[in-house]
C-alpha cells in the first residue's frame, strides 16, 4: 500500500483525535515499520488495517465509519494534489466513471507497485449509476466516503445504496440515484 494512504490516515487521526491518539495506536500496534511512513514509500496493507482496528478500539467508533471518514478526508487531499482529474469532467457520474477508466490508470503509471481496486460502472435506463467495487483489500467504506465527497463536490444530491455482493466485503455494489 502506498505511503500516502498511511501519512494521510495518520494526519486525519491527528486532526480529529490529537497526536496523542496517533502515538498510542502506533505504539500499541507493534508494526514492522515502527509507524514511520513517507508518502513516496510502500508498506504492507496489513499495517493500515492494524492501525484502523486499534483506533476503533480506542475511540469506540465502528472501523467502517472511520474508514468512510478517511475517504472523505482523502478526497480533499486528492483534490488539492490532482486538480486536473476533477477539471476533466463536469459532473459526478462522469467523474466516478473516470476512476477506473482514467484516474487509477494514471496512478498506476506513476506508481507501478500500487494496489488499486477494480470498479465496474454503468448507468441504468432510469438514470441511476451502478458502481461495483472489487478488491481483496475490502475497503469499500473508503470508496463510499470518496464517492460522497465527489457528489458533494459536483453539487449533486444523490442517495447511495450499498449492497455486499460477497460476504467478506471484497465485492460491493453502490447504487447512486440523483434526487430530483
Amino acid at each position: 500500500m502506498k505511503g500516502i494512504v498511511f501519512t494521510e490516515f495518520l494526519d486525519m487521526v491527528e486532526q480529529k483525535f490529537g497526536y496523542e491518539v496517533v502515538d498510542q495506536i502506533i505504539e500499541e500496534s507493534k508494526l514492522d515499520s515502527n509507524g514511520i511512513y513517507t508518502a513516496v514509500g510502500t508498506y504492507p496493507h496489513s499495517e493500515v488495517v492494524t492501525l484502523l482496528m486499534n483506533l476503533s478500539d480506542k475511540v469506540n467508533i465502528d472501523p467502517g465509519a472511520l474508514l468512510k471518514e478517511f475517504g472523505k478526508y482523502l478526497f480533499d487531499t486528492f483534490l488539492a494534489s490532482y486538480p486536473q482529474f476533477f477539471a476533466a469532467v463536469d459532473n459526478a457520474f462522469s467523474f466516478l466513471h473516470s476512476i477506473d477508466n482514467h484516474i487509477h490508470v494514471e496512478v498506476l503509471k506513476l506508481y507501478p507497485d500500487a494496489t488499486l481496486p477494480k470498479f465496474i460502472s454503468h448507468e441504468t435506463e432510469d438514470g441511476a449509476m451502478i458502481m461495483t467495487y472489487m478488491s481483496e483489500r475490502k475497503m469499500a467504506a473508503l470508496a463510499e466516503g470518496l464517492i460522497e465527497k465527489s457528489l458533494a463536490y459536483y453539487k449533486e444530491e444523490c442517495t447511495i445504496q450499498t449492497e455486499n455482493l460477497k460476504e467478506d466485503g471484497s465485492e460491493v455494489r453502490f447504487t447512486i440515484k440523483r434526487i430530483s
Partner: protein, 829 residues
C-alpha cells in the same frame, strides 16, 4: 512530561520518515542517472552505426559501378533530348562503337530507319505523359552494319530542379526475335492450312462455329450462316445456346460445353431454331480448341444438317407403325375367321358322322367320306393357321408344368402305333432319360411338336420304320439338356426342298400336297414352337432314303421328381389327407368350380370372398397353400398377399388365380409375394398339378366311368370334356349357375359401356371372362378379353360396339345353354 515524550517521538518519527524519503528519492535519482547514461550510450552507438552504413553504402556504390561495367545488360543514360551521357562497356560492344564515340551522339541515330518515327513518338509520349518506367523493343544497326534487336527498360529520372534524364537497361534480344519470327511463319502456315481445312469442311456442307469458354459465339463460317439463316454480325457475341438451340436440347448442349472444358470432344444430335423460326436437326461434332499456352479457350462445332434423314426416320417409324397395325389387324382377322369357320365346320363334321350312321347306298357313303375328310382337313388347316398367327403375334404364352417325358413318349407311340399299323410301317421309341424324365416345360407345345413331326413322318413314309428318340444329354445345376429326334425311311427331300421346309405355306411341292394332303403348316409351327422353348429345329434328308428332324432343349429339372404321379393310370388312390387349403375368390362360378374339385379329391379347405377376409381367417387357422384371386372387391389379392407375407409364421405357397393373360400381371403377383400363377380358366389337371407341385402330395384323380355325354357341337366340347370329365352332375351345376347369373352380368357390362364408365367396363369384362369358358362358350371369353384390351387402348367406340355384340351373342346362345341343362339333367337323373 508525557506530552513532551510524545512530541519527541513525533519529531523522531518525522525525522526518520524524512530520511527514509531521502533515501528513496536518492535511489530514484540514481536510477534516473543510470537511465540517462545508457540513453547517451545508445545515441553514441547510433552515430557509429550511421557512419558505418555510409561507408558500406559507398563501398556498395563502387561495387555497383563495377557491376554496371561488367554487366551482361546494356546500361546507359541520355539527357532529355536523347543524347548519350553514359554507356557501359557491354553497350559499346553491342553498338560496335567505343564509349567515347557514343557519348554525345543521339540515341535515335542508331535505330534503323523504319523504326525511327515509332521510337520518336514513344519518347515524346514518355516525356509528355511523365511515364516513369516502360519497356520497348526496337532494332539498331551496329557499326559493322548488323541489325540487333534491343529490348529496353527505360526510367525517366527527375532532377530536383524539374529537369529530367533517362536511365535505361537494355538487352540484346536478336536471338529471341529471330525465333519469334520463325514461329510466326509456322503459325501463319498453320493458320493457312487451317483455313484451307475449314474451307474444305465448309464445302462439304458442314457449318462451322466457334464459341469461347462461356459459350459466346466468337466466329462463324459462311455455311453455318446459311444453315441458320443468320448473318455473322447477328451471331458473333451472342450466347450460342440461347440464340440457336431449341429449348429441349439446351441441357444436352450444356453438358457438351462442360465436356469441352474437360478437353473431351464428342458427336451428338440437337435441334437448332433458324432465324426464320424453322427448326432443323443437326449432327454436331464438337471439339475443344487451345490457345498457345495449351489451355482450352473455346470449342469448335461442326454442324451437319440431318433434317432430311430425321424426317425420313420419322416417316419410316410411321410406316412401320402402320405396318405393325395392319399386321395386327390381319392376325386379329385370322384369329376371328378361324374361329368363325371352326364352329360351322364342327357342325358339318358332326352331321356327316350322324349321316354315316343312317341307311345309305355306297355312292352316298363315298360322298360322305369325302365330305368328312375335306371338313377334317379344313378344320386342321384352320387350327394350324390359328396357331401360327398366335405364335407370330406373340400371343402364345408358355405354360410351364411338370411332366414325365417318358410318359409323353409312351402316349405318342401308342397313338401313332395304330396309324402306323394301318400302313404296315413300324414305329419304335428310343427313350433314354437316365432316370431324369420329369421336367418342367410347356407340355402342350412339346406334345404338339412331336405330334407334327411324327404325323409328318407317317405321311411321307410308305414302308420301313419311324423312330422317336429322346435322350438325356447333360446336366447343370437346375437344368438338363435333352435331345429329340424323329427319323423316317420315307421319300425324303432334295436340298432345294429341304431349305424351304420350315417356311409357312411352302410345302415341298404342289405335287406332294396333292398326293399326301395336309396343310404344310405343321413343320413351320413345330419350328416356331421349338424356338419358343429355346431350341432350334433342324432337318437332314436324303432323297428316297428318308428324313431326320431333330432338336435339343434345355429343360428345367423338376423338383417334384419323386412325387410325380402317373397320370395315365385308369384308377387311383388319393393321398391328400391332412392338408388344408384356403381359397380366396369372389366369383361365384369359380368358387363353385374349385370347391367341387376339392370336394371330389377330399381336400379340406376354407373359402372366403375377398382379401380382407382372407387376412382375418389366415390369422386364426393354419393352411398348407392359398389360392388367391387377384382382382377382388374390398381388398385385392396383391394387397392381401403383402399383408399375409408380413405376418409371422411359415411362408406357405400362395398361388395367384387370374383370367389375365398379361405377363405383367404375373410379375406383379410374384413381386407382391406370391409363389406361382394359375391362369383361369384352368382344368382339374392344372389345379391338381399346382397343388402337387407346391405341397408335394399327390392328388390323383379317380377316373370315372359310365355313359358319355356329347356336348352341343357349337360349344367347345374338348374343353368341357377336359374340365368336367365324366362328372356331369358337376357340369349341370355349373351350367345352371351360368344360366342364373349371366344375363344380369352382361346387362351390367352393357350399362357401364353406355354410361362411359370404362374402368367399370374393364372390371366387369374381366369378371365374366372365365365364366363363358365354363359352359364351353370359349369365343365369348375371347370377346370379353378383347373388350378389356380395347378399354386399355381407349377405343371407346369399339368398346361400346363389342359390349353390344357380347350381349346379343349371350342372348342368342341362351337357348343352347338351356337345352344343354335339360339334356344334362336327363342324363344325371
Amino acid at each position: 512530561m508525557n506530552e513532551l515524550e510524545i512530541l519527541q517521538r513525533k519529531l523522531n518519527r518525522e525525522r526518520l520518515a524524512r530520511k527514509q524519503a531521502e533515501q528513496i528519492l536518492e535511489t530514484k535519482a540514481l536510477e534516473l542517472f543510470q537511465a540517462n547514461d545508457s540513453l547517451k550510450k545508445l545515441n553514441e552507438s547510433l552515430e557509429d552505426q550511421i557512419s558505418q552504413r555510409t561507408k558500406d553504402l559507398q563501398e556498395s556504390e563502387s561495387k555497383y559501378r563495377n557491376v554496371i561495367d561488367q554487366a551482361a545488360d546494356i546500361i546507359y543514360s541520355t539527357d532529355e533530348n536523347g543524347y548519350f551521357t553514359f554507356i557501359n562497356p557491354r553497350g559499346s560492344d553491342a553498338f560496335g562503337y567505343t564509349v567515347e564515340e557514343i557519348i554525345g551522339t543521339r540515341f535515335i541515330d542508331f535505330v534503323i530507319d523504319e523504326h525511327k518515327t515509332g521510337l520518336y513518338e514513344y519518347y515524346t509520349k514518355i516525356k509528355k505523359g511523365g511515364v516513369a518506367n516502360d519497356y520497348y523493343e526496337f532494332p539498331i544497326r551496329s557499326k559493322d552494319g548488323q541489325i540487333h534487336w534491343i529490348g529496353q527498360n527505360v526510367n525517366r529520372v527527375e532532377v530536383p530542379n524539374g529537369d529530367f534524364y533517362f536511365n535505361a537497361v537494355a538487352r540484346d534480344i536478336t536471338l529471341r526475335k529471330n525465333t519469334e519470327k520463325e514461329l510466326d511463319h509456322t503459325r501463319q502456315a498453320l493458320q493457312q492450312s487451317e483455313v484451307k481445312y475449314r474451307s474444305v469442311l465448309e464445302n462439304m456442307d458442314l457449318g462451322l462455329m466457334e464459341v469461347d469458354n462461356k459459350g459466346i459465339i466468337v466466329r462463324v463460317y459462311e455455311k453455318f450462316c446459311q444453315m441458320t439463316g443468320y448473318s455473322p454480325k447477328e451471331l458473333i457475341g451472342k450466347d450460342a445456346i440461347e440464340t440457336l438451340i431449341v429449348k429441349d436440347y439446351e441441357d444436352v448442349l450444356r453438358t457438351q460445353d462442360k465436356n469441352r472444358l474437360e478437353r473431351k470432344s464428342s458427336v451428338y444430335e440437337a435441334r437448332i431454331r433458324r432465324k426464320d423460326g424453322k427448326e432443323i436437326w443437326v449432327l454436331i461434332s464438337g471439339a475443344p480448341f487451345y490457345n498457345t499456352e495449351g489451355e482450352v479457350s473455346g470449342s469448335l462445332g461442326i454442324h451437319y444438317d440431318i433434317s432430311d434423314r430425321k424426317n425420313l426416320e420419322a416417316n419410316l417409324e410411321i410406316a412401320k407403325e402402320k405396318a405393325v397395325k395392319a399386321q395386327r389387324a390381319e392376325q386379329q382377322f385370322l384369329a376371328n375367321m378361324s374361329h368363325e369357320i371352326r364352329t360351322p365346320l364342327n357342325a358339318i363334321i358332326g352331321m356327316s358322322h350322324l349321316l354315316k350312321d343312317s341307311e345309305l347306298d355306297d355312292k352316298q357313303i363315298e360322298f360322305i367320306e369325302i365330305l368328312s375328310n375335306s371338313a377334317n382337313l379344313l378344320k386342321g388347316l384352320v387350327s394350324d393357321i390359328l396357331d401360327i398367327s398366335k405364335i407370330d403375334s406373340g400371343m402364345a404364352e408358355m405354360n410351364e408344368t411338370a411332366f414325365d417325358l417318358s410318359e409323353l413318349a409312351y402316349r405318342l407311340i401308342k397313338t401313332f402305333g395304330i396309324r402306323a399299323e394301318e400302313r404296315s410301317i413300324s414305329i419304335v421309341s428310343n427313350i433314354d432319360c437316365k432316370g431324369k424324365s420329369i421336367v418342367e416345360s410347356d407340355k402342350q407345345w412339346l406334345n404338339q411338336i412331336l405330334i407334327n413331326l411324327l404325323g409328318n413322318a407317317i405321311k411321307f413314309t410308305k414302308e420301313g420304320q419311324i423312330e422317336l428318340t429322346i435322350k438325356h444329354i447333360s446336366d447343370t445345376k437346375s437344368y438338363s439338356t435333352y435331345y429329340f429326334e424323329v427319323s423316317d425311311t420315307g421319300i425324303g427331300m432334295n436340298p432345294e426342298e429341304l431349305k424351304k421346309v420350315f417356311t409357312a405355306f411352302k410345302q415341298a411341292n404342289t405335287q406332294v400336297q396333292r398326293e399326301f394332303g395336309g396343310t404344310g403348316l405343321g413343320l413351320s409351327i413345330s419350328s416356331r414352337l421349338v424356338s419358343l422353348l429355346g431350341g432350334q429345329l433342324e432337318a437332314e434328308s436324303v432323297m428316297n432314303e428318308g428324313s431326320r428332324f431333330f432338336f435339343s432343349l434345355q429343360l428345367k429339372s423338376s423338383s417334384a421328381t419323386h412325387s410325380m404321379p402317373k397320370r395315365i393310370s385308369d384308377f387311383s388312390t388319393r393321398i391328400a389327407e391332412g392338408i388344408k387349403l384356403l381359397v380366396v375368390e369372389d366369383n361365384q362360378m369359380n368358387q363353385k368350380y374349385i370347391l367341387s374339385l376339392l370336394n371330389k379329391w377330399d381336400i379340406d379347405y376354407d373359402i372366403v370372398d375377398d382379401g380382407l377376409q382372407a387376412v382375418e381367417i389366415y390369422k386364426t387357422s393354419t393352411y398348407d397353400l392359398i389360392f388367391m384371386d387377384l382382382s377382388m372387391p374390398v381388398m385385392d389379392g396383391y394387397e392381401a398377399t403383402g399383408i399375409i407375407r408380413k405376418l409371422p409364421g411359415k411362408q406357405i405357397p400362395i398361388i395367384a388365380l387370374t383370367a389375365s393373360t398379361f405377363l405383367s400381371k404375373k410379375e406383379l403377383a410374384l413381386q407382391s409375394g406370391m409363389t406361382d400363377f394359375l391362369a383361369k380358366p384352368f382344368t382339374p389337371d392344372d389345379l391338381s398339378l399346382m397343388i402337387e407341385k407346391h405341397i408335394g402330395t399327390s392328388v390323383a384323380i379317380a377316373k370315372e366311368t359310365g355313359d358319355t355325354f356329347a356336348y352341343d357341337v357349337t360349344l367347345d366340347t374338348k374343353y368341357l370334356d377336359e374340365i368336367y370329365g365324366n362328372d356331369y352332375v358337376y357340369a349341370l351345376d355349373m351350367f345352371s349357375i351360368y344360366q342364373d347369373m349371366i344375363i344380369d352380368e352382361v346387362n351390367q357390362l352393357h350399362t357401364f359401356a353406355e354410361g362411359d364408365a370404362y374402368a367399370d367396363v374393364k372390371k366387369q369384362a374381366h369378371k365374366v371372362k372365365p365364366v363363358f369358358s365354363m359352359v364351353g362358350l370359349t369365343h365369348l371369353t375371347v370377346l370379353s378379353e378383347q373388350i378389356e384390351s380395347l378399354v386399355q387402348e381407349k377405343k371407346t367406340k369399339d368398346v361400346k360396339r363389342m359390349c353390344e355384340e357380347l350381349k346379343n351373342k349371350v342372348t342368342l346362345s341362351m337357348p343352347t345353354i338351356e337345352a344343354e341343362i335339360q339334356r344334362l339333367r336327363n342324363m344325371t337323373n
